[in-house]
């Protein structure tokens, strides 16, 4: 057949103004999603401290429960679905338990009475006002 050569301009003519809007907003969404999911914001491992010393460093990849002894008793830290939380703790006010799931790097739950803490860290440690 006598098909004309496919030219870029010819092809782009099929994209109407609303289509450009779709493409631009779609690209922005993809970039934003990529930045959110790939920025290393998601934590890789949890650092568990007891009495000021690092008790264990565990990967978030495996679901597990860890018993951490402290002065008041045993705190239980649960790792599930790339998140971590303090499942139970002997502290009187239960602040760290009620804090719930930690997911982003840099989030931390402290059980001061029992001197237990769990902190999530990503692939690279970011600076903040405490760690400069």
């Amino acid at each position: 057949m006598n098909c004309p050569e496919i030219k870029v301009v010819e092809v782009l003519r099929h994209i109407k103004s609303g289509d450009w809007l779709t493409l631009v907003s779609g690209s922005i969404c993809v970039v934003l999603v990529t930045l959110t999911l790939w920025s290393g914001e998601l934590a890789d491992k949890a650092v568990i401290r007891s009495g000021g010393k690092v008790y264990r460093e565990v990967s978030l990849g495996r679901d597990q429960k860890i018993d951490v002894p402290g002065p008041l008793g045993v705190s239980v830290i649960a790792i599930e679905n790339r998140r971590a939380r303090i499942a139970s703790d002997p502290s009187p006010r239960q602040y760290c338990v009620r804090q719930g799931w930690l997911q982003q790097a840099g989030e931390i739950a402290l059980c001061l009475p029992n001197q237990v803490s769990v902190e999530l860290v990503g692939s690279h440690k970011r600076y903040d006002s405490l760690n400069y």
């Binding site: 496919i6 099929h14 109407k16 609303g18 289509d19 779609g26 999911l37």
Partner: protein, 215 residues
Amino acid sequence: MQDTGSRVQESDAGVQGMQETVNKNPESRIPNPESRILLHTTAEDHHIARMAAVALGLTLLEGAIPSPLPGVKPGLANIVTLIVLARYGWRTAAWVSLLRVFAGSLLFGNFLTPGFFLGLSGALLSLLVLALAQHLPTRWFGPVSHSVYAAFAHIAGQMAVVYLWLIPHAGIAYLIPIFATAALVFGTVNGLIAARFMDNANNGICSRGGAEKIK
């Protein structure tokens, strides 16, 4: 779904019926004429079956293209869905798309496997989004928009099934950017192919054979 199943039978019977009209003496082939089941099919049924066959051919072609990551596919069969949507409306497009999913899974031997449900969920969500997207003003929005929206809906449907059923783990979130980028790129390309094809078919400049095939 059951509806679609009956349609598959119907179109098969349609093909059979066509063959029998060609055959001068059907009784010679079938020992007991009362036992045969003949479903009366309309021209539209045959048309849908033909379109689904074109879509199946494209799926087959696509299977030969190596993919860097399982699940990242161009989705060439969606070009047919887009053209059918633009020309014959959403109902016909839904028939063609779902027939392609069911008949394709039977053809490639993955009926009722996880891969089949992935394709089905993607197709269903795409059709849902296309039902909304077709009401966009045609002056500004063409097949490219439809294609991109459908492609995003397709990966959304697949990721939902993967997360809710196959791999209920937040780790699959790492794959979303890859799939989203693929959806944007292939959605745009498919939309452009569909738009260009319809343009050519309307003008009748070239691809006359293709136009006949699609009609």
